[in-house]
């Protein structure tokens, strides 16, 4: 088939079963947009900022497990999208981002809206391509999707000069991907798995350390089974929330900087860390030399570079978690005696009793944690939960009752404020039957607030719950704790009227000061099924606790802080 480069992009997206893409047109990508106009196979959602388009594609990918697709123009279109690429790279989100570029003849001349896009995206993508000949496009696009979704998933950026989108060449998408230099190892070494299982059978205080890789490899079911049949307790990282049901008796909660006392103590006391798709991030480990000091380490990951990067693995296993967990389950059937770990479970129960995750109710003001728990009570499994970044994000991770993988959508590695609203929009596209909630703060929501327009236009009823404390709360908390209360540039007393703001775009706004008002607002927003802002005035000085100060040891937690 002889078609133009622009038509090839369309044909490739159709061949990849793409149903929705997110984007923003501009000069260099116009040929492709012209072809988008002519087709009916997939939907294009016009975000109102390129960064939001990429975050929406991320939300879509995280909720569906499919490759998210975003399309942007050259120059500023691309640079606006970089934050989204970096975010997807840090959180291993499968994504293909296609950008326009100035024509080949103008590359290197500082042409209008020219920027060295692949030069910029190299360090924040899994791979990238500058297409110099339309004849290469079918192969490159096919490789891009393949690389994005296989191995450790990640974003792939394809930069296409405008003249290449006009060039006519042969389109054949049937050739299988052949990459002799890229062959991810998906089956873990069985002998190594057996050794690891022997170590588990011999351990007295083993601990599952569950990470986001479980979600990426769709291994949730296998991991639930493995945990249940071994009777070994588990902690989850921020990215793994939802792997185990919130009420699973073996789930100790999240660990790390804002992990629960019991989770962090369990990690400090364990004699065998069973790391599954987790990467020993600094927000998880605290001070490395004190982390799980007396433990051996099993580390299963699809990315060899994640193994022994920060914490030495005694049993390194490179492979896809779904396969490895299946092998582990098989072996566990005959080798693991559940009873063995009962004393260990008692110890953990004591940790839990000593300092459970909690907060103090206030008679006058609403507590943000209550709001989150309340949404959990009212919507539970019927909602997908996105967040922005900051205090509200940590409280949501701590207090929302997650019940399944892919229910929880957050920016973990990069910590991108402004992620939540567009991501929740992508989530709604991927899973329209569930309510899409975005817990956000009064700081975060203003970064990408323009997506009110997109969500209203495309009838994507995201409910944004703004936990409004008139502060950049997390930074304010650090200033309170570590900078002698010098609240430098964190006071957000001057704010827009969020109710009117939502209404200005055609959404609906609620101002909430009491529990009753909150219940009524949430109920109304869900029933009306429209884009909503629920502006909740919460206690201004509430802190996220417990807290392991940056660089501190996990067992040295601040459990509470009293404002004087």
């Amino acid at each position: 088939m002889q078609i133009s480069g622009a038509q090839m992009v369309i044909e490739a997206l159709i061949a990849e079963n793409v149903d929705t893409i997110f984007g923003y047109p501009g000069g260099a990508i116009m040929n492709v947009y012209d072809e988008i106009y002519k087709q009916n196979s997939f939907k294009h959602i016009l975000a109102r900022h390129e960064q939001a388009a990429v975050h929406a594609a991320e939300g879509y990918a995280k909720a569906s497990g499919k490759v998210g697709v975003a399309m942007i123009t050259s120059g500023p279109g691309f640079t606006n999208a970089v934050t989204g690429l970096a975010d997807a790279y840090m959180d291993s989100v499968p994504m293909v981002v296609i950008s326009g570029q100035v024509p080949m003849s103008l590359i290197g001349t500082d042409a209008f809206q020219e920027i060295d896009a692949v030069g910029i995206s190299r360090s924040c993508t899994k791979h990238n391509y500058l297409v110099t000949d339309a004849a290469d496009l079918p192969r490159i696009l096919k490789e891009a999707f393949y690389i994005a979704r296989t191995g450790r998933p990640g974003p792939v950026h394809v930069d296409i000069p405008k003249d290449v989108t006009a060039q006519i060449a042969t389109f054949d998408y049937s050739k299988p991907v052949e990459l002799e230099t890229y062959k991810p190892n998906i089956n873990g070494n069985l002998r190594q798995i057996k050794k690891a299982m022997e170590a588990i059978a011999e351990a007295k205080r083993p601990l599952f350390y569950l990470g986001g890789g479980i979600i990426n490899s769709n291994a949730g079911e296998e991991i639930r089974k493995l945990v249940q049949m071994t009777g070994i307790p588990a902690v989850e990282t921020l990215m793994a929330r939802g792997t185990l049901r919130f009420d699973d008796p073996l789930l100790i909660s999240m660990l790390g900087m804002h992990g629960s006392y019991a989770a962090n103590m369990a990690m400090s006391e364990t004699d065998l860390v069973i790391g599954l798709g987790a990467r020993f991030d600094d927000r998880v480990t605290g001070k490395l030399s004190e982390f799980a000091k007396n433990a051996k380490v099993i580390h299963v990951d699809i990315d060899p570079a994640s193994i022994s990067k920060l914490v030495n693995a005694d049993f390194p296993i490179v492979g896809d978690l779904k396969n490895v967990a299946t092998s582990m389950i098989e072996i566990a059937k005959t080798t693991i005696d559940k009873e063995r770990y009962t004393p260990w479970l008692d110890t953990i129960a004591n940790f839990n009793k000593l300092h459970p995750l909690s907060y103090k109710e206030d008679t006058v003001e609403l507590k943000p944690q209550w709001i989150i728990q309340r949404v959990g009570e009212l919507l539970g499994d019927d909602a997908n939960i996105s967040t922005d970044v900051g205090q509200h994000q940590m409280w949501t991770a701590q207090f929302y009752p997650f019940s399944r993988p892919r229910q929880w959508i957050t920016s973990g590695g990069l910590g991108t404020m402004g992620f939540g609203f567009p991501a929740a929009m992508g989530v709604k596209v991927a899973d329209p039957s569930r309510v899409s909630i975005n817990f956000t703060g009064d700081g975060s929501i203003l970064m990408n607030v323009q997506e009110l327009m997109t969500t209203v236009e495309y009838k994507l009823p995201v409910i944004n719950i703004i936990l409004n404390n008139n502060y950049l709360g997390m930074v304010r908390q650090w200033q309170t704790l570590f900078y002698n209360k010098r609240h430098s540039s964190t006071d957000l007393s001057i704010q827009p009227d969020f109710v009117k703001l939502a209404e200005a775009f055609g959404g609906i706004g609620y101002r909430v000061g009491t529990k009753e008002e909150f219940d009524a607002a949430l109920k109304d927003a869900v029933e009306k099924n429209v884009v909503a802002f629920i502006d909740v005035k919460v206690h201004r000085l509430e802190n996220v606790m417990p807290m392991v100060p940056a660089g501190g040891s996990l067992f040295n937690m601040m459990l509470e802080y009293k404002e004087k």
Binding site: K126, H127, T132, E180, A305
Partner: protein, 157 residues
């Protein structure tokens, strides 16, 4: 912390646009050292071979190797233990210096005079990097005007 030792690695990559920047970006982005780097196509293949002299602890070296492997166009990473390593240097001397003295010194370091013009003498040596160091300090008395080193290339024994 472990001692950062000098190490030599060879990287076989697909010979395509921007592959070199992928490698150097990885080094700079993750804070690894590059002491020297040479690159040239492997004859009759679609690959190029890079020889990188770097330094780091065992853990850092393991990360460098793994991170290089993670780059899509990288076929093979060889961390050399037992290797033959050579480096070339070209040195330019004023014509007023003693030609035969320079020539004798060069031959001791596996080299010779490669060019003599009206104004300059150019000498070449090819030897182990350490010995190239020695050569370069030995020729100081001939007032070298310009020195260029190639960076090391290496083959496993």
């Amino acid at each position: 912390m472990e001692e950062a030792a000098r190490r030599v690695i060879s990287v076989i990559v697909i010979n395509e646009a921007s592959v070199l920047s992928r490698i150097t970006d990885l080094f700079s982005g993750r804070g690894y050292n590059i002491t020297s780097l040479t690159v040239a196509p492997i004859p009759e293949s679609r690959y190029s071979r890079l020889t990188i002299v770097t330094s780091g602890s065992v853990r850092v070296m393991e990360q460098i190797t793994k991170q290089l492997h993670k780059l899509i166009p990288v076929l093979k990473v060889i961390e050399h233990a037992d290797l033959v390593e050579k480096e070339m240097a070209l040195v330019k001397f004023p014509i007023s210096e003693n030609l035969s003295d320079i020539s004798t010194l060069c031959s001791a370091y596996n080299g010779n005079i490669v060019n003599v013009s009206e104004e300059v003498i150019i000498a070449m040596v090819a030897d182990e990097p350490k010995r190239v160091d020695y050569f370069l300090s030995a020729v100081k008395r001939f007032h070298p005007k310009e020195i260029v080193r190639s960076g090391a290339v290496a083959l496993e024994r």
